[in-house]
Every structure is written in C-alpha cells, then in structure tokens.
Symmetry: C2
Subunit: 313 residues, 2 copies
C-alpha cells in the first residue's frame, strides 16, 4: 500500500504553507518519572491552538475551486468548529458552523472571531444533522466531518509524520483517542514512516468506546462520558475505525485522577498550557510504565485551548 | 567601560554548561494587539523554572574551591532559594537556605527537592539576617544575596545578552523590576550588546519602590505590596541601584488589572505558563502603546513557577 505513504506526503506538502511546524519538547524530569525517553509533539502551539487545524485545512484545500466558493459546513462545539472557521477564513472560503444553542458563549465567540457563521439549533444529534443538511441545501456548502473523513484523517496524520521526521527512531507513538481522526492519522504515519514504530492510544476510562470497539470489532458508543478530557467524548466512525482496527496496537484506559496528575505534571514541569485531552497520552504512559520502559516514545499533545475558569486544580 | 562588556561575556561562557539557552517566542496576535514586534525571552523554560538559576550558578562558580567546599547561604522564600539549592547541588556544593517559618510548605518542599538545607526562623528581616549570619559563622559558608550582588546581576544579565544575540536589532528591552538583579543585568546587556537599545522596567503600581527610587535618586521601600506579582515585592540594593539609575531609561507602573490581563493573554494565546511577575513587562508595553509603536521590543519572561491553587482567573 504505497499509496497511503505517498498520500500522506502529498498532504503534508499541501498544508505546509498554512500551518505551523510545531516544536518537539522534552523534559528530563518527566523522563525520569516515566523511565522512558519521551518526545512531546506540541500541537498546543499550532494555529488556533490544536491539531484540528491540519485536517480542516487539508479538507478545504482538497475541494474544487467551485466547491470552495460555496463554502464548508460542520457541526461541532469544540476545536474543529474553530479550526474549520480559521482555515476557511485563511483560504477565503465561507464556513457555516452548526452549534448547539447550549454551547458556552465563549466557544461561540471564538468561532465568530475566526470568521465562522454560526447557526444555533437544539443540542440533539438529530437536530444538528438536520440543520447541517439544510445549510448544505441552501448554500451548496460541503459538509466536513470533524474526524470521520479521510482528508481530515490524513491532515491530522501530518503531526505524527513531522514528529517521525524529527525523531525517526521512535519505538512507540501515543495518541489520545476521541473521534478517531488523530489516532487513525498517527497510526498511518507510524506504519509508513516509522521503523517498526507501534501506535498506542490513550483513552479516558469514563469514555472508553474505542477500547470496547477494538475488543468487539465494531463501533461502540458511550452511554455516559464524565471526563475532564472533553475533546475525547466522541465516538469512532466508519472511515477511521478500519484504520484503527488494523494499525493501532492497543488502547490504554486511564482514570480521571491519572489524567489530572499527568496534566499537572505537564503544566508544572514543562511550563506549557495543554488541554486535559492532551494529558491522556502521557497518563497512559505513566499508567503502564513497564510497557514503555527505556523506550523512545512520541507523545501527541493535541491542543491547548483551556477554559481557565474550570481548572481541575 | 570595556570591562563590563567583557565581564558579561565571560559570565555567559562560564555558566553556559550549567543552564539552558532558553527559546525566544513570538505571537502574531499579541503583536497585533500591541502594535509592535515583540520577542519573548522565555526564562520560564530555564532550569528550575526561572532566570534566577543564572545568577545563582555564576555566584557559586565564582567562589574559590575552598569556599565552594564550605557552601553558600541565602535567605529567600522564593525562586532564589530554589535556584541556589539546585545550582549548588549541580556543582556539588552545600546550600543553606534560611526561610521564614511562615513560608508555604510547598516552597519548603521545593527547596528540599533541590537539595537545599533549610533553617527556619521568624519572618522578620532581622531574624533572617541573624540566622544567616549564625550559619555563616558555624559553617564558613558564603552569603549570596538574591539580587544585590554583582555576580548575581551579571548572571541574570546573560538572559538579555542571549536575547540580543538572537535579535541584535531590538530597540527596547523590557524587564520586570523586583529586587533589581534582572533589570540591572538587562540594562548592562542592552548598553554593551544592543545597538542603541533602551532598557525599560515594568513594575506593579502596588509596589512601586523602584519607580520612586528613580525619581528621588535614593533607594525607596514599599510600605505595602498588595500585588499578585509576588516576585516583585522586594526593593533595590546598593549594588544594583547605581546601575539602574544610570542605564534604565524609564519605569512604567501597571495596575493589578493590567497584570492579570497580560498574564491571561500570554497563557491563552502563547500557551505557556508564566508567573504573574513575568506578565508585568508585557503589561507595561500594552499600557503605553505609543511608546512602543512599531518598535522591535524584547520582553524578559522571568519565570514560570506558579501556585495553581491561587490563579487570578
């Protein structure tokens, strides 16, 4: 499957003028605690503060000029809404964002700042899908899914690709698992650009749909999702699940306390702001130390958009 | 005065193996807000989390082997206590730290982690000085002042020196003002390594002793110091004041709200953890925008040691 390799390289080249190449940081102290050599790919320093900028940019660039003119639409209340808005604005494309009317005002304001046009609707999935459909019909805009879209997946995969370019000898790559876009892209990058590099997921035990999906072989859902890792409450989709099933070695579940401890460690010791979802990958490494002992491990820090009024410490 | 120039270079070379060369970060968005081009020298990424590591290391390295063997002593409840402890530990030198018995347990624990030997005493200056004197007599250790010591001042100055090496065309360098060690060192670096680069201080209006000292021409004190910039409550000393008087262009006073706003901007937009004292320099730039309009401005981010249980937002 040489094509996936070439495809990832093509995507990296395509989005490169529109995104930051983010730095890779290390911490002697966290290495000592983990008993491994960790390399943090800092997508919290990405434009808009998260890796989602990569996938959004790629999805828009991949549209025809005619489709670009008509715009893009998505439903999201999180980072993808902001990412699609900013990517669209940078590329001079209209962005229509469907948000639940219950979404925090601060998130709506952020989308507006980035130029997204918000349509509010009731917060059920059915309402959001219907609203997005209506906008598509009215405007001719193209729907872009936050995680279950191959262009988005390949875009997200470029974060892992860059990390492997900087550190080709990584033995394991650890990614948080939410909707599955980031880990599916990372798994492809590890497979096609690593030297026998495994891809492992970290997931909150409170929203362990992906862990159960790997067990059962079909896409599972969460009945509840009481986790501070609010970017990881979503479930896998039919585009990313087959990739995850084939290329992800294992998913490690972590408790809320594990997440908070890892979050605090990153903030206190690395002096960088990362969102709780980002700490889940480090939490997985610290939970199963034997699995990672003395290994070179890449860790995807997914983003840094934090609501400071709701800190867990 | 070629000697100060040579002296600074010698110090930079001497401490270089023992400290990090910290990165210089920029933010497009904060540039837009400020109307200037800002370069942040990130000493929050320094070892131990603050620039104080530089001065402490230089002061110890400058002692004779015999004096090093007998150790160093200081009284401090802040970053300098931790810096002297870690610098001493790295250089295999005993460090005696006098701390008020009222100091937070978390600060005492940090000093112990870095190998400092704590002696507690009542929190008056008189008690602290007497305790430090007694330890000097008993152990033969050398007293190192956190800011009013020429070796410490020159050590701190290397942060500005590195910034000017990276960006030789800076027109203004802005430093927070507390005990005066950092700004005195920065002013010397600007004078001897800048191209007509001015040095300006930022100071909390609630602890504006340095601003008043520049006006009156003598060292003033603070009767109260109700500021979240807790590293800036201290006053100038006879070693650093003459340097500040001669080489610092101006001190800009900022309100507590100015500091909080600048702090939030750095956390939210740059995604880095800096302590409130560090935000005072940016607050000064944002307060007097006309003074900095369209200029290339270096900003010293002094440190990133934050008590997360006492955040102002």
């Amino acid at each position: 499957m040489e094509t996936a390799r070439q495809e990832l390289q093509k995507v990296a080249k395509r989005i490169q003028p529109h995104i930051h190449r983010t730095p890779v940081l290390t911490s002697r102290l966290i290495n000592e605690i983990a008993g491994a050599e960790l390399f943090f790919k800092c997508e919290n320093f990405q434009r808009m503060g998260a890796f989602k900028m990569r996938g959004a940019t790629n999805a828009i660039l991949n549209l025809s000029a005619d489709k670009q003119k008509k715009g893009v639409v998505t439903h999201s209340s999180g980072n993808f809404a902001q990412a699609l808005s900013l990517a669209a604005k940078s590329l001079n494309v209209p962005a229509y964002i469907v948000m639940p009317d219950s979404a925090p005002e601060v998130k709506k304001a952020a989308v507006r700042t980035y130029g997204g046009q918000i349509t509010e609707c009731p917060s059920t999935l059915k309402d959001r899908e219907e609203t997005a459909n209506r906008i598509q019909e009215e405007t001719g805009a193209t729907f872009i899914h936050p995680s279950n879209d191959l262009d988005v997946i390949l875009g997200q995969g470029t974060a892992a690709l860059e990390l492997l370019e900087d550190h080709p000898d990584l033995e394991i790559l650890v990614s948080p698992v939410g909707g599955g876009g980031l880990i599916a892209g990372a798994a492809l990058a590890a497979k096609y650009f690593g030297k026998d590099c495994k891809c492992i997921g970290g997931e909150p035990a409170e929203a362990d749909d992906a862990w159960r999906s790997l067990k059962s072989g079909k896409i599972e859902t969460n009945e509840t999702a009481n986790t501070i890792a609010d970017g990881l409450k979503t479930q896998l989709g039919d585009q990313n699940f087959p990739i995850i099933l084939e290329h992800v070695e294992e998913i490690i579940r972590v408790s809320e306390d594990d997440i908070k401890e890892a979050l605090r460690l990153i903030w206190e010791r690395m002096k960088i702001i990362v969102e709780p979802s980002s700490a889940v990958a480090l939490a997985a490494v610290l939970k199963e130390k034997e699995r990672f002992r003395n290994k070179k491990v890449g860790i995807l820090i997914s983003g840094g958009n934090v609501d400071f009024s709701r800190l867990p410490f």
